[in-house]
Structures are given as structure tokens and as C-alpha cells.
């Protein structure tokens, strides 16, 4: 079951999880209709997922992802359309380049670049989105909790 509707990213009481918290930013065109909703969250085996729909993955700015990590999320997974499938032609390519840039920045400040990733997929179901988030959670598990959570 999914809690559809507006999810308040600043409300930490909605993040009661012992599992890595992964924010999934997904392109509206990469999802099946069942999965579409402006934002939803779900605790599943091994991961707490908060998903936010974007009009296109290219709408994602570098600062958005850094703000999400600064606010305490353990990882961010971007789900973008495959090459040549992007409705805006080069949108998902731009998103991919920004993700690479962010990973480089994270490495420079001593954060694991694995905390941010991108997958190029189409017509994902909610379960498939959660699986992508779970994979991202598994990738960051060795690096522990986001240092921004410590001492809160």
C-alpha cells in the first residue's frame, strides 16, 4: 500500500526508520500509471523510500540533491528515461551528467559518491522503484548513516 499525496520532506517524524532512507526522484514519463503520484513514502524490507515525481529528470538541479542529503537522507536515487526515450530529447542525459558532477563533489568532501545514483528505466511499477531504492540502500549501507544525522 502506498501513502499517496503530498509528503512533507521536512517532517522528520515521517522518517521513523532503522533502514537507510533513500529519496527517489523519478521522471513522470518513466513510470507506469499505477506508480504516478506527486510524492509518496513506503517502508519496505531493508529501505525507507520517499519518492518524488519530477516533470523530467533534467529538472533536478545539483542543489536539490545536496539539500536532500544535507537534510539527512542516506541516499538519493534518480530514475530517468533511457537514452533516446527522453521526451525532452536530452533531459535524461543532462541529469546523468549532473549526477556524475555531484558524485565528484561528494568525493571531494569525504562523502561516499555511492550516496547518489541514477538508473535509466521506463514504465517502472512501484515495486520496481522500491527495488531500485533497495539497491541504492545496499550500496550505501557499508558507509553507515549519513553524517548529517549524527548529533541531531
Amino acid at each position: 500500500m502506498f501513502a499517496f499525496g503530498k509528503a512533507d520532506m521536512s517532517d522528520k517524524s515521517q522518517w521513523p526508520s532503522q533502514n537507510p532512507e533513500v529519496v527517489v526522484l523519478y521522471c513522470q514519463h518513466g513510470l507506469c500509471d499505477e506508480a504516478k503520484g506527486s510524492a509518496w513514502y513506503q517502508e519496505s524490507k531493508g529501505v525507507f523510500v520517499r519518492a518524488v515525481m519530477m516533470p523530467c529528470s533534467s529538472k533536478i538541479e545539483v542543489s536539490y540533491i545536496l539539500n536532500i542529503l544535507e537534510s539527512g537522507a542516506d541516499a538519493v536515487e534518480v530514475v530517468a528515461c533511457p537514452e533516446k526515450s527522453c521526451k525532452y530529447l536530452v533531459g535524461s542525459l543532462r541529469a546523468e551528467k549532473r549526477i556524475e558532477y555531484i558524485r565528484g563533489l561528494l568525493e571531494k568532501i569525504g562523502y561516499a559518491p555511492e550516496r547518489v545514483g541514477i538508473n535509466r528505466k521506463l514504465s517502472q511499477s512501484p515495486e520496481q522503484l522500491i527495488n531500485l531504492a533497495r539497491a541504492r540502500a545496499d550500496a550505501v549501507r557499508p558507509f553507515g548513516v549519513n553524517p548529517m544525522k549524527k548529533g541531531e
Partner: protein, 223 residues
Amino acid sequence: MIFAEWKPLDELIDKLKIHKKVLLVGCATCVAECAAGGEKEVETLAPLLRMALKKQGHCVEIITATLEKQCEWEFVEQLAQQATEVDAIMSIACGIGVQALAERFDPITVYPGVNTSALTIREEAGLWAARCAACGDCILGETFGYCPVARCAKSLLNGPCGGTRKDGKCEVNEEVDCIWNLIVERADERGRLESLSKIKKAKDWSNSGHGGPKRVIREDLRQ
């Protein structure tokens, strides 16, 4: 535009870690054009610095602002209130902006967050190339719109060095066009090759930064 790039992040962190509250200030003009110091870059750098400082165990609050221009006193004045609330300022504008803030908000320490290095044009998305060296003695009218001072590795004024590669690239940097090759080609296209035979004298650098700190007065504009 005036071109700048972020200083290494560990250098910025090293400067900020001793402070309690810092104001990070951007500029919406040249440094925004070169994606180093505009509002977008302020909102990228701020969380990055906060995360880095916290990871190292430093408790530093960073607030942000972006001015339209940091080289105009009227805009600098907009920071007057915020400047009283911090113990340091970091500016990601060019050196002009950093100094303007340092002068207006003395004795607050003002750090540069970028290195200002060139006058460039954005050739295409993500690619900036030097175009002007601010030499103070412009000869672009004689070199068909190509500047050999800024764009020749040796700043030659009277033709190529003889090391131009077969593909027209510079001997010193194979990724850069030999500017004298471009000058000659354009002169030839316009049927004015003979104009390049006129020898240019050694450059007078006195009107550039090499002539000492510049100070220019226009009486017609003074109040």
C-alpha cells in the same frame, strides 16, 4: 565575462572551520555566467560546505545571499544587516566583489571562494575560452577580430611563430587553434593579406594592469 572557478573545497573548509556563522555571498553577473558564483552555485556550495564541516566536527552556520552585482556599492549595501550577524563572509564573486565587501564590512573577515583568472566568452554550454587580456591597447581592428594577445600562447603581434601544427592548432597547446592561422585565413578571405605585412611595434603595456594600479576619472560623470 570575468571568469572564475571555485577554490579547492578543502581550502574553503580550512578557512571557515574556525568561525561560528558565515555569510556566503554570490553575484548574479559575470560569475553566474561562468557557473561559479551565481545564486545556483551559492545554493550548491552552501549545503556542500555545511556537510563537509559537520563531517569534520565543526559547528559552523552558513547563511546565504546573492547580489545582483558585488561591484556596485548600492547592491553591496543590501548586505548591511546580515553582515552584522556573522563573524566572516565568503564571497564567490570575482576579486572586485571580494574587495568591495571587505572594504564595506571591515573589520569582518572576507574570504574569496573562487580564483578569478581570465576574461572569457562561453563558446558553448560548459566551455569557456579566453578572449581578452585587458592589455589596454586594442589591435582587434588590425587582426580581423582575433586577439593575438589573449589567444596566442606567445602573444605574438606580427605573425605566427612558425610552430603551427599541420591541422592549424597551436604548437604549445594542441587543443587550441593557432590564432595567427585564423587571422591570416580571414585576411585572405577578405583580400587584405597585405595589411598584415605592416610591422606592429612592441606593445605599450602602460595602459594595462602592467602599468600599475589603474585609477580612471571621468569628470563628466562625477557628482
